[in-house]
């Protein structure tokens, strides 16, 4: 069997396996919206851990991350550790557990629904959903572009880009429509375990060939000694801190992650996942990013636009194994995308369509409409991905920063009963406007006296402007709440979960 046939067979085999899982999930599901979106709030530890994890990864673990490690050294492991291992775990407790408790009591399915109910405001509900969808849509498009390109690369150009992206889109629609949250969570678990094993086997294989970690480090000491030292012009303290903080806070507000805060079967599930988080992060990112770094010492040449990990693997491991890893990476992209589609559709149907267009929508009909929403959403992002509009790509690349703007107002609302509707609206709009203006308005410099000041820059003194937006959002939420009185229909006790 030729290399190409083998690779395509492995990818197709994976897709068929995932569909099988989807079918089983479909058969055990009941047809109401809560089950379709949240698997009836019945997810266990292993599945919750891995479904959050797999959704978090996307293509960055296998392609983007190792590429950076190859070019700049392995410090991204530290960024990942601070970001995902510690900061996200703390937010998992502060936001995730709280949302889970509130969700159990009030039956919320989305973040926007929760905030809209607490502040008695349909507009706030719509605003949060609209802001979320604004950042989510281009991010899904980026995933489709990545998968399309990976398939083109894998087939050596035999499958054109549009056909690859179309195949992935069709598969995702079919899969999400069938499987809902339960099926998505199950395949995420299989993928997560699979990727973790494959990565460690890859490390063993490569290290056996180059004389262990010491051999790899010695080679690296010859070619890129600066990679062994902590920090560089690229990895400045400002960069490490900005990236870790912005992404960790952004991740919690990504619809597909935030919605997972509602799905745990019990508090025990959330506790165990919280404890295991740092270990899981280490187990996955240390090997993948080290592989990328070692490749630099082993003289691996990466052509423009290609990814280092597949090239390294094809050098040191058998063809079938390299193909397995590519299939795993594509699976990672799809698992992120199908979770995003599912959550995006639930935000759209539940928080925009239902309140503003058809308030009489039944739970059962909502589950069907949500499926239609998935198809429309995926098709729209696919069409957009064909022309690759620069503006949308820019929005997708800054999505984490955009979502991070929501986190502090939500955190304030969850814990401070005096938060008012006006405070929330001010905090969300103010921070979004600040961030958006910096993303879209080109940098201009102004002269004040003898100093030149940049305006609308993406970073000031190395610090990401998203941090400033987050701070502004928190200040506005608290400040405006102090200055205004709550409206009559705000229910400030909604987020109190005391033993009543």
């Amino acid at each position: 069997m030729s290399e190409l046939t083998l690779q395509v067979a492995i990818v197709v085999g994976y897709l068929i396996l995932a569909l099988g899982v989807g079918l089983v999930a479909y058969r055990v599901s009941t047809n109401v919206a809560e089950d379709y979106y949240l698997a009836n709030r019945s997810i266990g530890t292993l599945v919750l851990l891995f479904t959050t994890f797999a959704t978090l990864l996307s293509a960055f673990t296998f392609f983007g991350g190792p590429n950076i490690a190859y070019a700049q050294g392995p410090e991204w492991i530290l960024v990942m550790g601070v970001m995902d291992g510690v900061l996200f775990a703390i937010l998992w407790y502060l936001i995730g557990y709280k949302q889970w408790l509130v969700g159990q009591k009030q039956g919320y399915v989305t973040l926007s629904e929760m905030l809209g109910d607490r502040f008695g405001s349909r507009r706030l509900r719509g605003l949060v959903a609209a802001v979320s969808l604004f950042w989510l849509f281009p991010y899904i498009m980026l995933q489709q572009m990545g998968a399309g390109e990976a398939l083109t690369g894998l087939s050596g150009g035999a499958i054109p880009y549009w056909a690859g992206a179309a195949l992935i889109t069709a598969f995702m629609i079919l899969y999400v429509v069938l499987a809902g949250m339960r099926g998505v969570a199950w395949t995420d678990t299989i993928q997560g375990l699979f990727m973790l094993s494959v990565v460690w086997i890859a490390v063993a294989w490569v290290l056996a060939a180059v004389g262990g970690p010491s051999g790899a480090a010695a080679a690296l000491g010859e070619s890129n000694p600066e990679f062994l030292a902590l920090g560089s012009d690229y990895y400045t303290p400002q960069y490490i801190i900005s990236t870790a903080v912005v992404i960790a806070f952004g991740v919690t507000m990504f619809p597909q992650i935030n919605q997972r805060f509602f799905v745990a079967g019990s508090a025990r599930v959330l506790k165990r996942s919280f404890v295991l988080w740092p270990v899981l992060v280490l187990l996955l990112f240390v090997p993948t990013f080290l592989l990328g770094t070692w490749a630099a010492g082993l003289g691996i040449e990466v052509p423009e636009g290609a990814n280092v990990l597949p090239i390294l693997l094809s050098e040191y491991t058998p063809v079938w194994f390299a193909a397995l890893v590519i299939a795993g990476a594509m699976a990672a992209m799809m698992s992120s995308s199908d979770s995003m589609l599912l959550s995006g559709s639930s935000y759209f149907i539940r928080d925009l369509y239902r309140p503003f267009v058809d308030p009489t929508l039944s739970e059962r009909r909502e589950a069907w409409l949500a499926r239609g929403g998935v198809a429309v959403f995926a098709t729209a992002t696919f069409i957009a991905s064909l022309s690759r509009p620069g503006t949308l790509i820019e929005v997708g690349n800054t999505a984490f920063g955009g979502f991070a703007q929501l986190t502090l107002p939500v955190l304030v609302a969850l814990y401070w009963q005096s938060t008012t509707r006006d405070g929330m609206v001010a905090g969300i709009l103010g921070s979004q406007l600040l961030y958006l203006s910096h993303v879209f308005i080109p940098t201009v410099t102004v002269e004040i006296g003898a100093t030149t000041l940049p305006l609308f820059a993406r970073a000031y003194g190395g610090w990401d402007v998203a941090l400033g937006g987050m701070l502004l959002g928190a200040l506005l939420t608290v400040g405006v709440s102090l200055l205004t009185t709550p409206a009559a229909d705000e229910k400030s006790s909604r987020f109190v979960v005391g033993a009543d």
Binding site: I77, L78, V82, V86, Y97, F274, P278, G498
Partner: protein
């Protein structure tokens, strides 16, 4: 131990956990052990510490700040 002090200690612990995930005091250091940079070993150990701290928190005060359970 009063409730206040206890809370303060948790906030302090969480802050230390976040701040020292990166061994800032070894900035620019390129010593390695068994082929892995020392700063990476520190990080690996630190994530282990984080897991232990999280496990202790889950067993003791997890519900204290949410208004459920043993308040």
């Amino acid at each position: 131990m009063s409730r206040r002090i206890r809370t303060l200690l948790w906030v302090l612990t969480a802050t230390v956990l976040v701040v020292f995930s990166v061994p800032w005091f070894w900035w620019g250091d390129s010593r390695t052990a068994a082929g892995i940079p020392l700063w990476l070993w520190w990080h690996i150990g630190w994530m282990g510490v984080a897991t232990i701290v999280f496990a202790v928190f889950v067993r003791t005060d997890w519900d204290r700040y949410m208004g459920v359970g043993d308040v």
